[in-house]
């Protein structure tokens, strides 16, 4: 249990998706003009991560990784399908996002209004695919571990985008050199925030 807690905290702060790996930067920069929409997008990313990473873990564990097919018959234990993982992961993510959109629309129009517009954006958000690929690369040993990792990185992403949106709302009132306005200052702000998050290193 202690180990899972450690993984959770580490994936939120130390290995933050945005500040350490720059994953999901596109939507991070595009959808951070105000706090409420960024909260919606952050929640949607969290939600999709928590669902797709464990599913991809199961697929990777039972179908794709070297020797994973041994449970079907011993002859297949030599088969290594891991080169297919990228295409399988992206297909799983795209279809789950589509599925979620339909389910949410059906069961709760309130949630759909809050998250719905962001869901199509998420299929091509690198943070989602990135989490699945990191899960594969780091060889997580159980589904609990991949679930914890997904939840942690989702929350980390949420914290990052909400904090950034809040800063950006204030930046509007400051007097920045003209060529630096907009995109330039956003990058520099993110860089400074990332420096702050580096303080968690070695925790």
């Amino acid at each position: 249990m202690e180990f899972l807690g450690d993984l959770f905290i580490r994936s939120i702060f130390v290995e933050n998706m945005i500040f350490a790996y720059f994953l999901g930067m596109c939507s991070y920069l595009a959808v951070s003009k105000n706090v409420n929409t960024s909260l919606g997008l952050g929640a949607a990313v969290c939600f999709v991560l928590v669902i797709t990473v464990p599913i991809n873990y199961l697929i990777n564990h039972y179908l794709l990784k070297p020797g994973a097919l041994a449970w079907i018959s011993p002859q297949l234990s030599e088969v290594n399908l891991s080169f297919l993982s990228l295409i399988v992961f992206i297909a799983v993510i795209a279809s789950i996002v589509q599925l979620l959109e339909m389910i949410i629309e059906r069961i709760s129009s309130q949630l759909y209004n809050a998250l719905g517009i962001f869901l199509p954006l998420i299929a091509v958000n690198c943070a989602i695919l990135g989490a699945s690929l990191f899960m594969q690369e780091r060889n997580f040993s159980s589904i609990g571990e991949s679930f914890t990792y997904a939840a942690g990185s989702g929350i980390g992403w949420l914290i990052a985008i909400v904090a950034f949106a809040a800063i950006r709302e204030r930046i509007r009132y400051s007097n920045i050199p003209k060529p630096l306005r907009g995109l330039g200052i956003s990058y520099i702000t993110t860089g400074l925030m990332a420096l702050g998050f580096m303080a968690f290193l070695g925790m």
Partner: protein, 205 residues
């Protein structure tokens, strides 16, 4: 003869990374060195060019409702090719780029060019458009990689360029440059310089 000039936009005025804000996601993490940034840039250019070509060839047969899935599958197949190629011939490099080669799939430059250009244009222009967008992206990565490697490690393409006498006089490598935050700040500074030279790009907020 097609006019090449028309396709040069992405190299500066219409650069995908510093002007259109596309495809920053999967790439900054690989810019700690010049070499890995160049490899990443080339991979993206290859994938962008050929996915544009293929989509453009298929543009009249893909039903528009399922085009995103079709595009994703084509891009993913090309990325797998690049990934397997790197693993076969440049194993160290592929270990270093780790998941970031795979993440080319979700690179917004590629999807963006497919949606905005390849779906409406003939194969050859699409190929060039993809190629130059990829190169424009590679240029930014290479610049960031160059400065991070030079200031962070004192090397260039893994060769030492800052002479030993500098270190004896007390010069120190700026280790901060090799950490993630500096990549973001460097890009910010690049945007600053680029926009002060191209006034029409300045945003009024």
């Amino acid at each position: 003869m097609i006019q090449i000039r028309k396709y040069l936009g992405p190299l500066s005025k219409n650069n995908p990374v510093i002007v259109q804000v596309l495809g920053v996601c999967s790439a900054l993490a690989v810019t700690t060195q010049l070499k890995s940034s160049v490899v990443m840039g080339i991979s993206v250019a290859v994938v962008a060019a050929f996915s544009n070509l293929i989509i453009s060839l298929l543009r009249n047969t893909i039903p528009s409702r399922i085009r995103i899935i079709v595009q994703l599958i084509i891009v993913a197949a090309l990325v797998i090719l690049v990934d397997q190629f790197l693993q076969a011939f440049f194993y160290d490099m592929s270990k270093m780029l780790s998941v970031f080669v795979g993440l080319i799939v979700t690179n917004c430059i590629i999807m963006g060019r497919l949606e905005a250009f390849a779906l409406q244009n003939k194969p050859l222009p699409s190929l060039l458009d993809g190629l130059f967008n990829g190169i424009g992206y590679g240029l930014v990565l290479a610049t960031v990689g160059l400065f991070r490697e030079l200031l962070g490690k004192g090397t260039m393409w893994n060769c030492q360029v800052i002479p030993d006498s500098f270190y004896e006089m007390g010069y120190l490598n700026n280790v901060l440059m090799t950490l993630p935050p500096m990549a973001l700040i460097l890009i910010g500074v690049m945007i600053w310089i680029h926009r002060s030279r191209n006034k029409e790009l300045i945003e009024e907020e």
